[in-house]
Amino acid sequence: MKFRVFAAFVAPSLLLMLLFIAAPLVSVLWQSFHVTQVEFETVETEVCTPGFITQTCQTETRTRPVLDEDGKMVSTTSFVGLGSYRKLLEPDRFVRALGDLNWRGVMVIDFWKALRFTLAFTLFTLPLVVGMGLLIALAVNSAAKSIRGQIIFVSLLPFIITPVIGAISIRWLFVGDGILTALLEWILETDIAVLANPWSLEFLMMFYRVWHVAPFAFVVFYAGLQTVNNDAIESAVIDGASRFERLRYVVIPHIMPLIVFVALIHLMDAYRAFEEIIGFSSQAHLISLQWLTYDLLTPDDSGNRAISRASASAMLTMIGIVVILVPLLGKTWRDHKAGSI
């Protein structure tokens, strides 16, 4: 293909990527190094608010933002370097706690607590998603042709549900005396409070994620299984390969690129875990990095929000995703080079 033709095809997509991915990223990066402060003044104000029967009026000292002639708040933006990152990571406290080998001391810092959960969540669910996906795909592939359509449809259902809605539905099964909690209590004859323990919450959240994402892995693997060369399988059978050996030496190597693909997508998605925190309202016990960014970005009742720290948190999340993807991307790159020679 001529370069001009290639450029003409790629240009629109490049332009959109610059506009919607690169530009916001640069803006977030910039904001993470800067803090915008509003200028405040203190004034004596008489404030009257309703009591139940009569009005209560009192003079109070009110701190309020200074407005310019246009009615805009006067604000100054200053460069703070890595200040926002330092506030998030609390390196001094972190190092001190590490030095004392005090794990709890590390876990009381929001960022590290979130990182611990996010990493555990991502790395525990990864093999389960890939394994479950492969199992379902193999099962469907060997099911009778007449019922495959129905099985595929049912297996896909969890993936179709909007993540937050799915999480909330599962929460309802367990919260308080939800159906499943009641059932467990009846079987075990003890009082169970699933949402009150960090470990049971964490287990439930991982279970939910696997339930939700495994169908995606299944569909991808199932498509890959259709392309497995039947001659190779037959030769393996003639050579006396068992079912497991056929899977291990013929099928899996064949769909390996798909496994890497599913793993990549899952790592990226799971590292941004968020719906589970909201759905299971776990923020008292467990928080994720994405939730931390969201929380910093949410304005409080007085309209304040920590944009700079939220930007820093978002950048750190992105760096984390890149780091976690490096091994897999490296493998893909090596395979690609080996293939092209």
Binding site: E46, F52, V108, P299
Partner: protein, 402 residues
């Protein structure tokens, strides 16, 4: 076809809203939009406003995150806003809402002075209702066990122990202890009850003291009598626990009181008594809230005129008569029923108004994120309070307040 169905649904909605009460005194021709919270009282008020025609009401519990930006736009995206003393601050500080004195003089004859939110001699909002968290208890259980209605937290704890020993309900206490805003609000109530103040004259935090420690200790003591999942339980959850007879006492919002006697939902109709919020060691452990209406600054005077008239129709006596128990109304025609007794008694005990100030938003967030770690045992009280002060200071410095 789809359009037709929407039109039908819309028509049915309007009919439903219109059927309940008399209608609007004038025919509104100016297109108006309102953004308010979504609880029962706002449904009633925006329903009454819609009858005037050309009013598009948006009811959204996340209104607080939308309102500041939507009102700062020029022209404003909504002409009418619903606020409370917590969410009033950013709009007032940015002056994206307009003073209402002229309009009150022109169309607000029926308003009581008590309804006018006045700062520096100008009216900025018209309040329609007050709200407070106060004690609700199962009078049948307490009288069966021979316990007098608790008036302070020592008595609440003693009563909770007695109810626990008797084993008549799943959990003696309910609490709106969901981590975040709700949990912080419970701390605010109890800390005021201990006589504390959150900041000093220079907006520096003042929670890391004995009163703060006592407040945390009290919250932990109370939580021992609650459903173990208390850190995930919000007002709706506590209301349902009450309605299903699972709890015997809770400090719950006055706006939830009427639901206890709603025979469609509640199994404890007539058994829940409303009382004043328990007293802390120093004063009433509750805060007074108001909800009311503001008008955007960025709109024409004609629009403001129409918006105010519509708003007055929304909070008139007719609406109150049709929805008497939906809230503790400040409007003429309201008959304080049994459900208002708790809020009235709490106000009479001298509960402080929830502070409308920039620092309060920052403090509320710091508390909401910080307290759970103490209740779960991750941090001790001193570390918790020191971290809350540090989080507040950090956020306040970033905002420019310190």
């Amino acid at each position: 076809m789809r359009k037709y169905i929407y039109a039908l649904a819309g028509g049915a909605l309007m009919l439903g809203a219109g059927g309940a009460w008399g209608g609007c005194a004038f025919d509104n021709t100016v297109p108006l939009k309102s953004l308010t919270a979504g609880f029962e009282a706002w449904k009633a008020v925006t329903g009454a406003m819609s009858e005037c025609g050309n009013v598009e009401a948006e009811l959204d519990q996340e209104f607080r995150t939308k309102q500041p930006a939507a009102f700062a736009a020029n022209p404003a995206l909504y002409q009418i806003g619903g606020v409370s003393n917590g969410t009033f601050t950013p709009l007032y500080d940015a002056k994206t809402i307009r003073p209402l004195d002229d309009l009150v003089a022109k169309y607000g004859g029926q308003l009581k002075p008590n309804q006018l939110i006045t700062l520096d001699g100008q009216v900025w909002a018209v309040a329609m209702m007050v709200n407070a968290q106060h004690l609700m208890y199962r009078s049948d259980i307490l009288s069966d066990l021979g316990i007098a209605a608790p008036t302070n937290y020592d008595e609440v704890l003693a009563a909770a122990q007695a109810i626990q020993d008797a084993g008549v309900v799943d959990y003696p206490l309910g609490g709106t202890y969901k981590a975040g805003w709700n949990l912080a609000q419970e701390f605010v109530n109890a800390y005021f009850g201990h006589g504390g103040d959150f900041v000093d004259a220079d907006n520096m935090p003042t929670v890391n003291n004995q009163m703060g420690m006592d407040t945390l200790a009290l919250m932990k003591a109370l939580s021992a009598y609650m459903d173990p999942e208390y850190l995930a339980s919000d007002s709706t959850y506590v209301q349902q626990q009450f309605q299903q007879g699972k709890i015997a006492m809770a400090n719950l919002w006055a706006s939830r009181a009427a639901a206890m006697d709603d025979a469609n939902e509640s199994q404890v109709v007539g058994k829940v008594t409303m009382a004043a919020a328990p007293m802390g060691p120093a004063e009433s452990a509750s805060t007074l809230w108001w909800d009311g209406i503001v008008l955007a600054a960025n709109m024409s005077d004609e629009e403001a005129d129409a918006a105010f008239r519509v708003a007055m129709e929304g909070i008139d006596s007719e609406m109150v008569m049709a929805n008497n128990d939906a809230a503790v109304w400040l409007i003429d025609g309201y008959v304080p029923g049994m459900s208002a007794a708790g809020a009235a008694a709490t106000a009479a005990d001298g509960a402080r108004p929830y502070p409308s100030a920039t620092w309060m938003g920052l403090m509320h967030t710091a508390l909401g994120n910080g307290i759970a770690a103490y209740l779960t045992g991750e941090k001790d009280a001193a570390t918790t309070l020191a971290d809350i002060e540090a989080a507040y200071t950090q956020a306040a410095q970033e905002a420019g307040l310190l």
